[in-house]
Symmetry: C2
Subunit: 395 residues, 2 copies
């Protein structure tokens, strides 16, 4: 890694990132100001496409999922190394996206997650182009859609749905940071359980099965499920609702579950145990009902599915990210998160996620902030990882 | 009762009710069209006050709770026999209160409950006045506020809060009907239990106590509480809520309980058992939390308190209502309900509730309806009960 960092073209790329730093930050602020709620990323994508062309990456295409795809170097149809940054934010269309500067901080919704990742990807593309960096494998730049929340990694899923899309490595640039190397894909299963029954007056109809009783039995059971500490696995009832008035047994009540694990097997087992608990709760509430009354029903509505997985800590992609972090003078931190890399890892493609330099905080809040400390250094770290994966050191 | 019904003044009162039937129904429709959500009954009260004056009941006063009070006959300050009808409805201010006629039915929110009771009370006042019926004890006509829902019988409570208000009998006219004699006061206790904690990210902060877990343990326990079949007693979790997003352990979750019984002792015991279950749920959820994390708290917010009680089936007030029902050719039906009479009964004053004639349905829904079948007959039944309680037969 040290040797590659000393190559003239790589040094030139680093110098370009430093020179371009002010522009990168300006682009980051401009991108953050464009609404891109999950499912409606088009306006932001148009701007990113324009800037990708500005830095010299031509022949940009947009796929059916709204992903933007640009290619640099190599020949043939192989995707080579993919560097991806998601376009979408958790903020609804009507959110005030004004970016304000307070001293060294830029404050605004999505300023780090993922305006920093997008601007960083554009800068890395520019650095490759301007330094004439041409590793043996091509580099594919992708701005993805549907990464956040209910998007459920839709853009990345669409990429990998094509049987010809088999990159040698997948590197997500997500938010700020210079030390974390996310190599464990945190998977999740999310669902809503809706219990429905006849309902009625709380005095006159008392004895009919109460869907809130079923929700309670279900949520209590989920709260008592045994969970492995390693691989870390969690089960939370995150929302609950039901009822219309103070003197009414409702016709409907529901809960929403968020199940997570670093292990796909643990997650599958947990999903099975949780849905069994939901069914047992249905039976439990129905057993208490008065004779001759209509039983409750249970409907399970899937809300999200993110695959888990791991790119082994010993894998050369992770090792090169560790080495690149040290090369730029920082301490690597192997971590777990849920990013576009989850999809790659679940498809057997080595994947990691890296921060795009700088520091950030209050992610997913309107008070989200970014400080451009070591911004270009963080981007250079990512560029080293991309070039190594594309075979630059080995050439 | 038969003898009293045959008295010339009483026969004249009955004839007047029959002659006035069209006017009573027109007043009922006019009253239903005036908004009177619980807590904001003033506009409807003004109209009722005007009509009470129209039928010849002067010196109407309005007390601090907004109750309208008019007096007929007798002397001194005694309230004598109270006949009460509540002004308020369950319908919010913005509800469309248009009354529509479909064949024999008048359809509109509150057309029976309690526009029928109010119009009926006005008609009975008019019949007493026009027939010159002057029983030994005075008759006090009261249009009450705050009977429905969260009003918690506020108007009737205010009446009885005065130590000088000791009527010999209290008769609520509530809705339509000619057979039911409500002599058992259905009491209730309503509360909201709010569990609060630190909350946090469902992955990063997993291990903090989840207030939804406490709500679930509480609601499940309430669903399993043993309840006596006689005196009939019920416990329902009627509403539940909490949670902000799919990846967040919430900071707050809550449930609302509706506890009811015909017996004050059973209701007190149930209230004790339910609040113990709420506290046990707090402990249960806190026991599962990670070491060093902040425990949940529980706040119990009272939402309603209606006293239970009974006017014994053998009491002369109940017996005269039974006799009056038979005198007008119908079959009495001794029943339990929650009405303004609850307050009287809980203060040791004999109290019952009667329908004001006709038939009704879909109470508390915007599709509420009324059919004027035996409307004046039902009002004559109530007049017989009032006059008997005021000592007319004994004179």
């Amino acid at each position: 890694m040290e040797a590659m960092a000393a190559m003239p073209a790589v040094r030139e790329a680093r110098a370009w990132l430093e020179r371009f730093d002010g522009e990168t930050l300006a682009w980051q602020c401009a991108i953050a100001a464009i609404p891109a709620p999950t499912g409606n990323e088009r306006q932001r994508a148009d701007v990113v496409a324009g800037k990708l062309a500005d830095v010299g990456i031509g022949a940009i295409r947009r796929d059916a999922a709204g992903n933007l795809i640009g290619r640099w170097g190599g020949d043939g149809a192989s995707a080579g190394v993919v560097i991806a940054a998601h376009l979408d934010t958790v903020f609804p269309e009507e959110t005030d996206l004004t970016v304000r500067q307070h001293g060294a901080r830029h404050v605004g919704p999505g300023i780090s997650d993922n305006a920093r990742g997008l601007a960083g990807m554009l800068a890395i593309a520019g650095a490759c182009r301007h330094a004439g960096l041409r590793p043996p494998a091509p580099i594919t730049f992708v701005a993805t859609t549907g990464e956040e929340g209910a998007g459920d990694l839709a853009g990345a899923r669409h990429l990998f749905a094509s049987p010809t899309f088999r990159p040698v490595a997948f590197i997500a640039l997500d938010g700020a940071g210079i030390e974390r190397v996310v190599h464990r894909a945190l998977g999740s299963r999310r669902l809503r359980a809706v219990y429905r029954g006849p309902g009625g007056h709380s005095w006159a109809a008392f004895g009919v099965a109460n869907p809130i009783h079923a929700v309670a039995l279900a949520a209590a059971a989920v709260g008592e499920l045994p969970l492995p500490a390693s691989p870390r696995t969690t089960a939370s009832v995150v929302r609950v609702g039901g009822g219309s008035g103070l003197n009414t047994i409702p016709q409907e009540a529901w809960l929403e579950l968020d199940l997570r694990s670093e292990s796909e097997a643990a997650l599958d087992a947990l999903y099975g145990a949780a849905t069994e608990a939901l069914a047992r709760a249905l039976d439990g509430a129905n057993r208490r009902r008065a004779a001759g009354t209509v039983p409750l029903t249970l409907q399970i509505v899937p809300l999200g599915y993110r695959p888990s997985g791991i790119t082994d800590a010993g894998h050369e992609l992770v090792q090169s990210a560790v080495a690149a972090t040290r090369t730029v003078g920082h301490t690597p931190d192997l971590a777990a998160a849920s990013t576009d890399a989850n999809v790659a890892i679940s498809r057997g493609v080595p994947g990691i996620a890296l921060g795009a330099g700088g520091r950030g905080g209050n992610t997913h809040l309107v008070t989200e902030w970014y400080e451009n400390v070591d911004g270009p250094v963080g981007l250079f770290r990512a560029l080293l990882v991309v070039c190594a994966a594309a075979g630059l050191g080995a050439a």
